[in-house]
């Protein structure tokens, strides 16, 4: 039995390190494609200003990228170190996308990022452009595989539990990668990254325009960023709506928490614009409602309904009762894998195995389970409503705010009047933190809304952690907090410093720049260090 404090500490550590990692990832996703856009203009028009832009923004990109890579390492390890039961239970399915991410995406991104930074003099224009595109594609493919893995946690498709090996195994790779959750989460997250990159570039460019510095670079960067941003924000909002549609089917508890739905109501259901949810009393203390809008939003019809928390708890109770024999059969199979009657009992109840695990938290000996313990476990099946409800509203609110900003900014930029509209430039600077906060809020909606499961409906969070002592977990948490605090301070300092310094004033053009390395190796050929395998 795993200590509850250990589980809580593991969750805090995971949330803290994932939210931290997710400060850097979206900017990488978006900025990489913005770099590709700028360099595309450079290569097609041949205007050196665009090369200067690509070089300047890639410096900022690298400051951000370093921390993204570093904190990504933590995530890759953490499943094994802190969530070992989870890892062995679903590693068969969950590990595969992570490994493919390395093979297909991260390797490409990281190898070419070196060439993107160091290769300006060594590659032809076309080659360098291809390298930049590959960095952008690699970082987004990386996100694709991570979200395929996450999609499995949200809605386990293409897998089944094997009572002989005591873990889940893959049944269909296609179902795993084409699962609607994986797909919709990927597009929503990747495009949210584009928005983040666009707001960042627009904000920094506005900062220069307000100070009348680097006007040529700032105006062009701003134009590209706002066009990029307006399209991406439209995308992120519509895809977010579609994601809600998918969630409504796969994760009714998350949806009910997002909307603060305690009691079932007939269609058309009203929408809580603002409410104060109170979990212990299972009601909203106060709510501002708009009639009929919820049915429209979630089911895209006036006659559709979604189950509320009262209904979902009743369903969970039934499933727990059905899941208990499954867990008991599993125990018997663990002692004797040939036990045919246990296997038959398992097969009859296996759909609710996860719910059996859920109640095991309160009743380690399932034969002695009481109705009140079942009720307690059923209450557990609802995520923390207020947190999910408010994160969701914060995310949507910030998304709409950014949409309004981008529409206005695009309008003025296209009319070439943006440098005179100082108020919107000031707004642009103040917008910089908004997408980052919206990204974090989105993570909270998705992952808090998944509770109490690590794999929705299959594996409860309380079972998933490693069997460490509280001391170990406190030690590692303190270590991460200390290390990460130093990192963020250094990163912010360098980022602000690089922005203040701006691009080199002399223009950073082609000819006057000293070569990073001599274009030709001074030594006689063959000069290829440890890389000649394919040439020779």
């Amino acid at each position: 039995m795993i200590n509850g404090t250990v589980v809580d500490l593991s969750r805090i550590q995971f949330a803290a390190t994932a939210l931290y990692h997710f400060l850097f990832v979206p900017l990488t996703l978006g900025l990489s494609f913005l770099l590709a856009a700028m360099e595309t203009v450079y290569v097609t028009t041949g205007k050196p200003i665009y090369k200067q832009m690509a070089m300047f923004w890639s410096r900022l990109f690298m400051i951000n990228f370093a921390l993204g890579v570093a904190t990504g390492l933590t995530m890759e390890f953490q499943f094994g170190t802190n969530w070992s039961f989870y890892s062995s239970f679903v590693g068969d399915i969950f590990g595969a996308p992570l490994a493919i991410e390395g093979l297909m995406a991260f390797f490409m991104e990281s190898t070419f990022v070196g060439l993107m930074v160091f290769g300006w003099q060594r590659l032809s224009k076309g080659q360098h452009l291809a390298v930049t595109w590959l960095v952008a594609l690699g970082s987004n493919l990386s996100a694709l595989w991570i979200l395929v893995a996450n999609g499995f946690m949200q809605n386990p498709k293409g897998a089944a539990f094997d009572p002989i090996t005591m873990r889940m195994h893959l049944t269909s790779f296609q179902q795993l990668i084409f699962s609607p959750d994986a797909q919709s989460k990927f597009v929503h997250t990747s495009i949210a990254g584009y928005v983040t990159g666009a707001v960042f570039v627009a904000g920094v460019s506005a900062f220069y325009m307000l100070r009348k510095r680097h006007m040529d670079l700032a105006k062009r960067s701003f134009r590209i960023a706002v066009l990029f941003g307006v399209l991406a924000t439209i995308g992120v909002v519509t895809l977010g709506d579609a994601l809600g549609f998918v969630d409504a089917k796969a994760q009714p508890t998350k949806l009910a928490a997002m909307e603060g739905l305690w009691r079932s109501e007939p269609a058309p259901m009203p929408f809580n614009v603002i409410a104060i949810p109170e979990q212990s009393e299972q009601r909203n203390i106060d709510a501002v409602q708009v009639p009929a809008v919820l049915s429209l939003l979630v089911t895209h019809s006036l006659t559709g309904t979604v189950p509320a928390i009262d209904t979902l708890e009743k369903r969970a109770e039934q499933r727990i009762e059905n899941g208990i024999p499954a867990v008991e059969a599993l125990k018997a199979l663990s002692h004797d894998p040939q036990d045919a009657s246990a296997m038959a009992q398992f097969d009859a109840h296996k759909a609710d195995l996860g719910y059996g695990f859920l109640v095991q938290r309160y009743a380690p000996h399932l034969s002695e389970v009481t109705p009140s313990e079942i009720q307690k476990a059923a209450k557990d099946s609802i995520p923390p409503v207020a947190a999910v409800f408010w994160s969701f509203r914060a995310m949507v609110g910030m998304g709409l705010l950014m949409l309004a900003f981008f529409v206005l900014a695009t309008l003025y930029s296209l009319r070439d009047r943006i440098q005179k509209k100082t108020w919107i430039l000031k707004v642009a600077v103040w917008m910089i933190p908004v997408p980052f906060l919206a990204d974090e809020a989105g993570w909270l909606v998705a992952e808090l809304g998944r509770q109490p499961w690590t794999v929705y409906g299959v594996l409860p969070t309380w079972m998933s952690a490693s069997t460490h002592s509280v001391g170990y977990m406190a030690f590692s948490l303190i270590g991460f907090v200390a290390l990460y605090s130093v990192f963020i301070a250094v990163e912010m300092y360098l980022m602000v410093r690089a922005i203040r310094l701006g691009p080199p004033e002399h223009g950073g053009g082609d000819a006057e720049r000293p070569l990073s390395r001599p274009t030709l190796a001074p030594r006689p050929v063959p000069a290829a260090p440890y890389g000649t395998k394919l040439e020779g």
Binding site: T71, F79, V90, G95, L103, G114, F487, T532, K533
Partner: protein, 376 residues
């Protein structure tokens, strides 16, 4: 053997290949980090050393990430048990590893001796510690690790942090560090000129000789350690858990070498590679030395893997719960899909990595580093 068993063995080999890639490519960068303050006495000399691997460390590091991901995908039980069991060591590895990207990227952004000194030390630590941990983890496999499982495969580690730092493991850690120091020196030789070149040349020979001595001692030491044998298993290529087998302890870890004498080629490759690299460094042939050093890594890791097979994570507290190729792998379907992905992407990775090295070939001069705003 059925398809499942073949897929398991293929993944055992592939994992070995990825670990070798990790040792060679990450080990080289770590080596440069570990010897940074020795080969580079001035700031510019250090920047030269850093910029030799500058365009490549990022890509190389992915071998490490891929290694983790591949263990997770192909042998989830090993990933779960080893990473949680080696907890404090893993944290040490992680905390030092995550200083590296930041050290590289941020060190030269500010022209202040104190700032750069701090990051130089961070790079030394984050070069040396992970390589010691990497070797020590391997060393511990020969002793076995104290862990066992519940009925539902919850794993429990019952040892302490200090028991992971036993003499044999420490020796393996130093072996791994000296090999990477040798590779790092050869890498610096290939890209630097003048004083750093000469220092790296001397260091490559010393590190190589230390590695030869430790590898030889390790061989005799392993011979004296009791080995593990599978006494009964549900079958090869049959889905199973470690709860369904029995394991005996006794004899020697070198038994596999007795039954298959061809395996002696692995340690032979290890010794030849190290010795050849030492002579190549002496002769100033850094590229040849680098390839021989890569051969040495392949020999060393190959020897360890061959000795342990089919064991991957032996349990010292309950040997029958030891993790093997047969009981800790993913399902057949996952393994087959992953073989497919590896077959396509590993050659592709080797191809574009070679291309990246080819594009950035040549010496890094002090002048170029000082004048390039993008340089580390």
């Amino acid at each position: 053997m059925n398809t499942f068993a073949i897929a398991q063995v293929i993944w055992w080999v592939l994992l070995g290949v990825l670990l070798m890639g990790l040792a060679v490519m990450v080990g080289m960068d770590m080596g440069v980090g570990a010897i940074l303050r020795y080969v580079g006495r001035t700031d510019t000399e250090r920047r030269v050393a850093l910029n030799i691997i500058g365009p490549h460390w990022d890509g190389n590091q992915v071998w490490f990430i891929l290694g983790g991901g591949a263990i997770f995908a192909a042998f989830p039980l090993i990933y779960a048990t080893a990473f949680s069991g080696f907890y404090v060591v893993m944290l040490l590895l992680l905390w030092t590893m995550i200083m590296r990207p930041i050290g590289f990227e941020y060190r030269s952004r500010i022209d202040n001796p104190a700032w750069r000194n701090v990051w130089d030390w961070a790079l030394v630590v984050s070069g040396a510690v992970p390589m010691i941990v990497f070797g020590a983890a391997f060393g511990n496999l020969f002793h076995g690790v104290p862990f066992h499982f519940d009925w539902d495969m919850t794993s429990y580690y019952t040892g302490s942090f200090l028991s992971l730092l036993n003499p044999f493991a420490v020796m393996a850690g130093v072996l791994s560090l000296s090999l990477s120091a040798m590779m790092g020196s050869l890498t610096v030789m290939s890209g630097a000129e003048g004083a750093p070149y000469q220092r790296a040349r001397a260091l490559a020979q010393i590190a190589g000789l230390v590695a030869i001595a430790l590898f030889a001692i390790g061989g005799f030491w392993v011979h004296a350690l009791p080995g593990y044998q599978l006494l009964s298993v549900p079958g090869l290529g049959v889905p199973q858990t470690p709860l369904q087998q029995t394991v005996g302890v006794g004899g020697s870890w070198l038994q596999n070498f007795g039954t298959h004498p061809l395996l002696w080629l692995a340690p032979l490759l290890g010794f030849t590679g190290m010795l050849g690299a030492v002579f190549a460094a002496r002769a100033g042939r850094s590229h040849l030395g680098w390839w021989l050093g890569a051969g040495a890594w392949i020999g060393v890791i190959g020897s360890a893997g061959a000795a342990l097979f089919p064991f991957m994570l032996p349990s010292s507290s309950d040997p029958s719960m030891s993790l093997t190729v047969w009981n800790s792998s993913s399902s057949e379907l996952t393994l087959l899909w992953m073989i497919g992905f590896a077959a396509v992407f590993v050659p592709l990775i080797l191809w574009y990595t070679s291309w990246a090295f080819w594009v950035m070939r040549g010496k890094v001069t002090e002048d170029a580093v000082v004048h390039d705003e993008h340089a580390y």
